[in-house]
C-alpha cells in the first residue's frame, strides 16, 4: 500500500501541516475531514459549482478537482485563514450590508473568487463581475446583490487608493 498513502507537508492558512493522506483524497475533503476546516464546502464534487474554492499558491482552484497529494509543498488559503487575516473584511461587510448571501453555502467560494477579481484593481463593469463569478453557483440570491456588493467594494477600494 506504500503507493496509496503519501506524506505531505502543506502550509494551510500560514500553519505548517504534515499529514499522511490517501492518494485519492481531494483537497477539499482533506481540509474538511483531516484539518476540520469546514468553511470550504462540497457542492457538486465535479468542478462546476465552486463551493469548494480555495487558494493554492495564490490562485483560486476547485478543492474538489485537486488532490491533497498534489498540494505537497504548496501554500493553501481557505476562507477561515483569509477571514482571520482580515484580508477581505471590506468585502465581507459589503456582503452583509447588501444581503449578498442567503443560505451562505456558496459564500466562502464566492468571496475568494470575488477577491481574485478585486485584487487586479480598477472598477470592473457589472458584466465583468458577472463573468468572473460565472463559475460560482448561488441558488439563493439571483446574483444581483452579489454583483452589487463586489461593485461597491471595487469602487471603495479604488477611491481609497485615490
Amino acid at each position: 500500500m506504500s503507493e496509496r498513502f503519501h506524506d505531505i507537508a502543506i502550509t494551510v492558512n500560514g500553519e505548517k501541516v504534515r499529514e499522511r493522506v490517501d492518494a485519492r483524497k481531494t483537497l477539499v475533503d482533506f481540509l474538511r475531514e483531516d484539518l476540520a476546516l469546514t468553511g470550504s464546502h462540497v457542492g457538486c464534487e465535479h468542478g462546476v459549482c465552486g463551493a469548494c474554492s480555495v487558494r493554492v499558491d495564490g490562485v483560486v482552484v476547485r478543492g474538489c478537482l485537486m488532490l491533497a497529494v498534489q498540494c505537497d509543498g504548496a501554500r493553501v488559503d481557505t476562507i477561515e485563514g483569509v477571514a482571520d487575516a482580515a484580508e477581505i473584511t471590506d468585502l465581507q461587510h459589503a456582503f452583509v450590508a447588501r444581503n449578498a448571501l442567503q443560505c451562505g453555502y456558496c459564500t466562502p467560494g464566492m468571496l475568494l473568487t470575488a477577491q481574485e477579481l478585486l485584487v487586479r484593481g480598477g472598477i470592473p463593469s457589472r458584466e465583468q463581475i458577472r463573468a468572473h463569478l460565472s463559475g460560482n453557483y448561488c441558488r439563493c440570491t439571483g446574483y444581483h446583490a452579489i454583483v452589487d456588493a463586489v461593485e461597491a467594494v471595487a469602487q471603495a477600494r479604488s477611491g481609497a487608493k485615490g
Binding site: T38, H41, E80, F95, V96, N99, C140, T141, Y143
Partner: protein, 798 residues
Amino acid sequence: MKIAEDSPPIVSALDRPNSYIGRSVPRPNLARLTRGRAQFVSDLTLPRMAHAAFVRSPHAHARIVAIATADAANAPGVIAVVTGAELAKVITPWVGVLTHLKGIKSAPQHAIAIERACWQGEAVCAVVARSRAEAEDACGLVEVNYQELAAVTDSETALEPGTPVIHPELGDNLTFERVHVGGDPDKGFKDADAVIETTFGFGRHTGVTNEPRAIVADWNPGDARLTVYHGTQAPHMMQNLFAKHLGLEEHQVRVVTKDVGGSFGIKVHTYADEMATVALSKLLQRPIKFVADRIESFVTDIHARDHRIKAKIGVKIDGTITAWEIDDLTGIGPYSVYPRTSGIEANQIVNLTGGPYTCPNYRARARVVFQNKNVMCQYRAVGHPIATAVTEGLVELAAAKIGMDPLEIRRRNLIPDDAHPSSGPSGIKFEALSHHESLAHLDAMMNYAGLRAEQTRLRAQGIYRGVGFASFIEVTNPSAAFYGVGGAKISAQDGVTIRLDAQGAIICQTGVTEQGQGAEAVIAQVAASAFGVPIEQVRVITGDTDNTPYGGGTWASRAAGIGGEAAWQAGKALRANVLACAASILQAKPEDLDIREGRVVDRDSGTERLSLQELARIAYFRPDTLPPGFQAELMATRHYVPRAWPFAFTNGVQASYLEVDPESGFVTLLKHWCVEDCGTVINPQLVDEQIRGGVVQGIGGALFEHCIYDTRGQLLNGNMADYLVPMAAEMPDIEVGHVVTPTRDSELGAKGAGEAGTAGAPGAVMNAINDALRPLKAKPLTDMPFTPDKILHALGKV
C-alpha cells in the same frame, strides 16, 4: 395602499418609537457565514459517528431477486451492511395521502426497497462504515441480482389499458384526479369572438440546493432518545415522523437544525434514505451520518413541474376574456411523497389558473399518474409557475390574436382593486389584492413605452427583442386548510417565546426556521419593535424541537407572516409583564410607562425611569425587595395562526425584456422587473432579495433546467455539467417595486414573499420570447425549457 420605497415610512398601526418594521436591517448571524464558521449538518462530526452510503437501483423498475452482502461486510472499515428487509424491523413504511385530496392513493414506501425497486436511484441496500469513502467502496461489493421489469415512463400512456400497473393492488396508475367547473364555460366559449387553444409543457426540474440533503442521527440508548441534526425546513414535522415510524414517543426525538445550505421546498419532505439513516442509528446504537452526493441529489431529491397542460381561452374583440379551460397531466414517480403528497401541485394549478382575472367561466381537469421515475413533490412556488405561465401565456396569445396591447388586455380583465373581497374562477378567496396599482407601477418603473419604441427601432436593424408580462397571485400564510385538515401532522400555527435576560437583552425562541431567507432578522425586528429594545439586544433561537415553541417551520411563505405575528404578540405580552414589574418597583402605573431603546421611560415625556438591566437585576437577584405578592414574569409566549382566510393571497406583476438571436436560438436576458404586494414590508431588502432569488429560480425552469429521462426511465443528465442552472453571467439585473396592502388577519399585516418571484418569472420570459419572435412568424413557444434548439424549431430553421 401605497407604493413602498426602499425604506418606507413606518406603518401607522405598528407605529412605535424606534420601530424596526419597514427598515432594511442587516441580518444577524451573517458573519459566521462570511467567515467560514457556520454549522451546516454536512460539517458535523460526533464521537463514534459512522457514515452511511447506499446501493441504489440502476433500473427504473426491477424485482430484487437476491442481495449478496458478504464481500461488502468484510471490506475495510465496514460496520454493517443492511438490506431493506432487515431495516424494516426497526422502521415502518409510510403512505403519502391526505384525506382532503379526495381519492388520492399511493402504496407503502419503505426506507430501503424490499423486493422491488421502482425508480432509478431508489436505495436497495445500506452500507455503514468508518468513513464515507469506505462505505462507498463497500457498496461496490454488494451484489444485487435484479430482474428488470417493464418501466412506465410516459405519463401520456400511463393510464392506457396496455400499460403495466406499477402497484397492482391500487388497480391503476392514477394517483389523483380533480375536476372543477365554475361559471358557464360552454357559454363563455360560445360568446367568444376568438378561441385560442394550445398545449403547454413544463420540464421536470429540481431544486439543486448547494448543500445537498444532510442528516446526522444519534440514537442514545442511555437516554432512550434520538437526536437528529437535520438540514430541514420543518423540525417539528420531522420529529413527529421519526417518532411515528421508529415506534418512539415524540418527546424521545429532538430535531436540531442549524445552518441549512438551501431548501426551496426540497428539504420539507420525507426521504427514504434519511428515514433509513435514523433507523440505522437506532439499529446500530451510534451516530450515523448521511450526506447525499450530487448524483444522489439528482436521482432522489424531489423533482417538480413535469406537467403537460392543454389549455384554451375565449376572448371578445374588445378584450373581454370569456372562458378558460385546462387539462393537466402530470407524472409524479412511483410514490406520492409523504406526508404532503404529490397531488398538491396539480391541485394548486386547478386552484390558481385564471386567478388574477374576473372571468368566472372555467373548466379544469388535473390527472396525476404514477411512473417509474424519481418522485415529484412540492418545490418553491408549488404550481404557481405553471398556473401563471398557462394563464399569462393564454392572455398574451389572446391579446396578439385580437391585436391588443398586452397591458391593455390585463387592465380590462384583472380583478379591480376596489372589488375585494373577491374570488377566483376556482372559488379561491381573496381578502384584498392590488393588480391594477401594481400594473401601473410596473408600467412606469420599466418605462414600457420607451422599451416598445426601442424594440421597434431595433427590429429595423434585425435585432429581435421582446417584452413579456405575467400578473400573478401567490398563496402565503397558509391556515390549517393546507395540510392539517387532511390529517397531516404539519402545524399551521407557530409560536414565539421571548424572555428578558439578566442584562436587559431579549431571547426569542421560535418554531419558524432560518433557511437563509432572513427569518431570524424578521423575528428580531418585530420583537425589538414590539418590546422596545435596540435590535443588537435581541437574540433569536430557531431550529431545535427541545427549545422552541411547537410550530410548522418554513414553507409556503409563512415564516414572516405567521412567525412575525407571533413575535409581535409575544413582544407586546412581555412588554406588559415588564411594565407591571417596573410599575411595582417605581410605584407608578404601568399605563404611564413605556419601554424604549432598552429603557423603561415615562410614556408622555420619554424620560428614563429605569434601565432594563436594573429591572432584570432586581427581578432576578433581589426579588425580596419587590412588594409582597408580586411575582415578575419575564418570559412570554404567544402563538398565531390565520383564521379569517385559508390563505393570505399576495399579488404582483413581472416583466421580462430579452433578445433572441434568430440564427443561434440563444436568449439574452436584458432586464427583469417585479412589482409585488406582500402587505406590510417588514424588511424591504429581504423582500427584494427573496423576489430576486425567486425570479432567477423561475428563469432556470424557463430556459435551462430539465431532468431528461430516456424511455427506460434513466436520468440522462444527473450532474451539474449537463443539468444547467442559472449562473451569474447569464442573469439580468432585477428591479423590484412594492405596493402595500396589509392583511387585516393580523396586526402586523405581513403576507409572504418567498415564492412570488418564482411564480411569475417563467411566464414573463415565455411571453417575452414569443413577443420577440412574433414578427418572424415563429410558432409560439410553450414547451419549457426554451432551449436554443426549440427556438430554432419554432423558427423553422432546423
